[in-house]
Symmetry: C2
């Protein structure tokens, strides 16, 4: 890595928490200068605008969130157990994330009536996350681990919505119980309503 | 109502959609002047600061949301049916609301790392909404319409989180399916997991 691209990465890494906490629109150049220890020119040597830096900071924050949510899932053969692990990761593995909560939720709320470019990025990230879940459900259907007649899009919508809403409530009340309860609910929903009754590894009630 | 208090109410009514859509911090005085058709002095004759106006606009937006969510619920005698109606109202009765989505969600995300006063207002609004649901669950327990061992706080957390998360996804994708699916899920959850099995009006599967 050249010195230039190292500096560039470091600017993204240091700006990401500011954007994710303050909001992408509300973050001022002065906030970014303080976080990076650079002058205006030092930042704009690497990024054409604040929007470009915001966009790359979103990607950085989101990539880290995705990797964290997937940790230890890919080697779980049973698809329902894999989905349950993804849910638990969302709830339990929050320590290494960029501070400020889920970047999709933040960006969706901040830009739903405004910034089109960021809104589009958040929408694509949401779609990609949903698709990942839907593929696991599809695989589970083929392997008969998932009950017949289950619509993958409903499952992804429900998992994502329940987790994001609980995250909002937990952040607002500074109490993780909402996330824990959402996790419990989704785990038993997956076991009781989605897992095929003949699935072998089904948990007893 | 005096002319002065009429003007004051009108300023709140016209400012509320701006704050709820743009964000409470991102709304500029110029936005409020445009929305109200008043000069700076005309606004500040009635409010000591932008923050005071933002705070009263939040209350206006939230009061309207609460009234809409409760419409037609109070005369439903069965507590599970009353909860189901509240859920349906959240999903179906969105037309008369202040534009911009749920003010708790917006304020929670916008101010979770910043504005303490608004954050506190959103937290209190969330608590009041949760308490309202919990009282209905308590009433249902006493009337044996709710299964034994159900924790009211878990039910309120789950209903609120699921609806708010689905609202975020529906707004981001401009597709109400997430809200509809969340409503279906919560309705069948209330019927199957919360309603007492001997409750008489229980829906057949």
């Amino acid at each position: 890595m050249s010195k230039g691209s190292e500096t560039r990465s470091e600017i993204i890494r240091r700006s990401a928490p500011i954007f994710n906490q303050k909001g992408y629109a509300a973050t001022a150049l002065s906030d970014l200068m303080e976080a990076t220890g650079l002058e205006k020119g030092g930042i704009y040597r690497h990024f054409s605008s604040k929007e470009q830096l915001a966009s790359e900071a979103f990607d950085f924050t989101w990539d880290l969130a995705v990797r964290t949510r997937l940790e230890g899932t890919e080697d779980i053969p049973n698809t329902i157990d894999r989905l349950k692990k993804m849910v638990r990761n969302f709830v339990e593995r929050r320590a290494g994330l960029v501070p400020g909560g889920c970047p999709i939720l933040n960006t969706a709320i901040e830009s739903d009536d405004g910034n089109r470019h960021l809104r589009e990025k958040a929408r694509k990230a949401l779609d990609a996350w949903a698709e990942r879940i839907e593929k696991i459900v599809e695989e589970g259907r083929k392997k008969r681990e998932v009950q017949r007649g289950i619509e993958p899009r409903r499952i992804s919508s429900l998992i994502i919505g329940t987790l994001e809403g609980a995250l909002m409530a937990s952040r607002l009340t500074q109490d993780n119980k909402h996330l824990t309860w959402a996790c419990n609910h989704l785990e038993s929903f997956l076991d009781e309503e989605i897992r095929a009754k003949s699935g072998g590894t089904r948990k007893s009630k």
